[in-house]
């Protein structure tokens, strides 16, 4: 049975993904053309969600901004998974050994750097850009995936079917890839959704303080930064992008919860 969470989360996420994709071929208005005469218009017929202080169409900017947010968060999750999962698998396969210890200590170390601090450090050195935001958020994702992979894999290594595979002569790496990984895939998908939503929030925060995507690339965080001085004149300029971020993150979180229930019905009973 599909849960309400799964449906609502899926629909919300789908809408944003679709908006981002459509923006490649069509937006209601150009996001680069300024029209000072039409600035700070309230939502209405001409501009569905109104215009900003340069007279740009807010809906169009949100659509293109979705592209930036999704791309940054998605690649950051990819980095976290791509490096974190193999590290976690290796640590579990070599449980208790030097490699395990080294990997986990390194994880603790990365954990000690809050993602924002990593971002600041990277930007201070290489300058602000979307790429550097991706790296910062991605680095922070590595220990998250490494830990969760190691934890889940460790409990699997004690199971009989793994023992059977060892008896059959398979090596640790092959067992990890062929037996462990498929069995923890659900868990990783759910965690991936959660990290994706955290990535969206982190990207918004970084571009708000000017450490993310640079002008003229529209991004949700910078729309809010621009809106800050206008907030008393035209609250909608700040309200709409903010609600957009909330809706996207909420959608992803609901999707994650829904997926967890759908992929592992046992958890549903335990958590309810």
């Amino acid at each position: 049975m599909m849960s309400r969470n799964l449906i609502l989360g899926g629909v919300l996420t789908g809408v944003f993904a679709a908006a981002a994709l459509i923006s490649f071929v069509w937006t209601p208005a150009s996001v680069e053309t300024m029209n000072i005469a039409a600035r700070l218009q309230l939502p209405g017929a001409g501009h569905l969600l109104g215009t900003d202080h340069f007279g740009r169409d807010i809906l169009s900017m949100l659509m293109v901004g979705a592209r930036t947010s999704i791309a940054v968060a998605l690649v950051a999750v990819g980095i976290g998974m791509g490096l974190g999962v193999p590290l976690g698998l290796t640590a579990a396969a070599r449980s208790g050994g030097f490699l395990d210890e080294a990997i986990m200590r390194m994880n603790d170390l990365i954990f000690a750097f809050p993602s924002l601090v990593i971002a600041i450090l990277i930007t201070a050195v290489f300058g602000p850009s979307a790429t550097n935001a991706i790296i910062a958020i991605g680095i922070f994702n590595i220990p998250v995936f490494a830990r969760i992979t190691r934890g889940a894999a460790l409990s699997l290594w004690k199971r009989e079917f793994i023992m059977a595979a060892r008896v059959a002569g398979k090596g640790r790496a092959r067992i990890s890839a062929e037996h462990i990984l498929p069995n923890i895939a659900n868990l990783l998908i759910v965690q991936g959704t959660i990290q994706f939503s955290l990535g969206i929030l982190a990207e918004a925060g970084l571009s708000y303080v000017g450490l993310g995507a640079q002008p003229p690339t529209p991004s949700w965080g910078r729309m809010l930064a621009d809106a800050q001085t206008m907030v008393s004149l035209a609250p909608h300029v700040a309200l709409i992008p903010g609600l957009t971020i909330v809706a996207m993150v909420l959608g992803l979180n609901l999707l994650g919860d829904g997926l967890r229930d759908a992929l592992d019905p046992r958890l549903k009973v335990a958590r309810a």
């Binding site: 200590r105 000690a112 601090v117 990277i122 303080v209 903010g242 909330v246």
Partner: protein, 315 residues
Amino acid sequence: MLRFVVKRLLSLALSLIVASGVIFLVVEVAPGDPASFMLGINAQPETVAALRAELGLDQSRLARYLQWTGGMLTGDFGTSYTYRTPVAQMIADRLWVSLPLALYALALSTLIAFPAGILAAARRGRPADIGVMGATQLGVAIPNFWFAMMLVLIFAIQLRWFSAGGFPGWDAGFFAALKALTLPAIALALPQAAILARIMRSSLLDILGEDFIRTARAKGLTARQALWRHGVRNALIPVLTIIGLQFAFLLAGAIIIEQVFFLPGLGRLIFQSITQRDLIVVESVVMLLVFAVIMVNFLVDLAYAAVDPRLRLRA
């Protein structure tokens, strides 16, 4: 216990050494020479060289790393390239804003999360629980800087109860300063409160399923008495860990919120230093934040081991 403490102390020292090494190296590879940046493009090579010598930039990397870390141990964080004042003094001034802000936010987050989490667990599956869980779902989805802007819009611009930003300083009086930190603290506390309430709820639910709660009920305690006497107390252990970790993240998270409210805290300092390429300041503030996280982790581990002897053996 002693063995455990020594082991954790060694690992603490190692973490700090590696962390400082990483921070130093990352900042080292930064393109651009601080001395030429400070003097501008028209500077004479001799002037630049003299300034480099004055700032100690002509020494080897290892020497500078040792000087930096050794200095920090004695409270000397070096001299700002831009302001020519001791970095330690600059940080101390800003810490008087950032630290109270983080503590204020932590207190608020705990005050909101505890009752909410306990209520949700006690009324599991009923409207109060669903309401709290719905609110936490929303709480974790709201970007705190946007929430901050909305607070300014409502409470500063519309209602005029608070100022929209700035900080009068503690000299202006305790309550005036606290008032200026109130909206930022609320903005910072909200997402943390949502997370904490969820953890409080699930931790309490775990405990309420234990045999000793059933025994307490069988002894004749009402559900409420069992919840308060046996449930909440036991549920606090994992919750306290999270509170410890949240403090460090609140300190780092304050960086963005300070930007929204124009508060002269560590966040402002770090952004100013980045634009002015005052890397020694960036380096030291980052190290301080990382130090806070590592230290809190260490203390949480110790507290845990003091409470639960099994953990000492495992280490």
